[in-house]
Subunit: 191 residues, 2 copies
């Protein structure tokens, strides 16, 4: 089965691309395999690519002044990830993107995406609609962060994304939720 099936299915949830448009889109995709613990994005380097996960898992995180890790994105199959700020502004990344498992990803360069979006109206529509939906999701995450207790947020995530919760190390999930691993152990032992 073609490795592009996932991303083409993803696109078809939003818009319809013609065969020639699909061919053009595929032509800008770079297939990349990464090993567990390998970095796809590192601070100091411009995040040139927007990345889609065909298979595997990746997290995006940064280190605070004390060297403590804070995970911003946990991405699995069919999810996108990048240091979005660096990608959009062409500035050096502040975040790391690290493979949590051996992974297969599709990478698309900022310039290629921008050129193709200005050429293909439907592709621009796809990214607009998809990003708007992501924005709505992000608001929900913000709400959770400012209004719920740490324990509520932990169980909410576990219930909503059980496959992810069971697949990533607990310290990564802790880091993503802004909770210490010790607290998560205590929450788990209480239920």
């Amino acid at each position: 089965m073609t490795i592009y099936k996932g991303i083409l299915d993803h696109i078809s949830r939003y818009v319809e691309l013609s065969d020639s448009e699909i061919k053009e889109f595929i032509s800008i995709l770079k297939t990349t395999r990464v090993k567990k613990r390998q970095f796809i994005v590192q601070p100091g380097f411009v995040s040139e690519y927007r990345n889609y996960i065909v298979e595997g898992a990746v997290r995006v995180y940064y280190l605070d002044d004390l060297g403590k890790e804070h995970t911003i994105i946990i991405a699995i199959e069919d999810w996108f990830f990048t240091d979005f700020y660096s990608y959009l502004n062409r500035t050096p990344a502040e975040y790391y993107a690290e493979a949590l498992e051996d992974s297969l990803i599709l990478q698309m360069k900022y310039e290629d995406v921008e050129e193709l979006c200005s050429k293909i109206h439907s592709l621009s529509q796809y990214f607009r609609l998809f990003t708007e939906r992501s924005m709505a999701h992000s608001y929900k995450r913000t709400i959770s962060n400012i209004s719920k207790t740490s324990e509520e947020r932990y169980w909410e995530y576990v219930n909503k994304y059980p496959q992810i919760a069971n697949r990533v190390p607990q310290y990564v999930l802790a880091s993503y939720l802004g909770i210490s691993p010790e607290s998560i152990s205590r929450f788990r032992s209480r239920s």
Copy 2:
């Protein structure tokens, strides 16, 4: 001066619209004046509009199970707001949008925006590029929420948005940051 100047300037930071495209865009805008404390969005009603603030200030908030307010968006001139989830999915809103001051807003219906974006490529590009930038901003807010202390986050916001901080009631800012008003008083008295 035309009340559309602000939003047209905003658009021109991203794309260039022709005169006829500008006319078409303006034709879908509904001018609305709201008084302080008036609601623009309320739970139970579909959020039909995406709103731009020409003048004034608005906050979007929801009430948790205990009736406590949690502010998700504080918007002033040149900012957009809506219950994005309701707006995109055509489902009843879960949030309130309330004017913090007498305000002048431009409202655009979901159907009108979608129709115009499928017709005008540059408009689709505008919303795509703008929403991507908002997404990058949202990540930064998430980072702040999961990695900083309440006090750090308070001062960070005050330093970054002094005009907003000085313009909205302290309890609104507290609600937005997920901090109690009493804690903010204590932070302020410590510095």
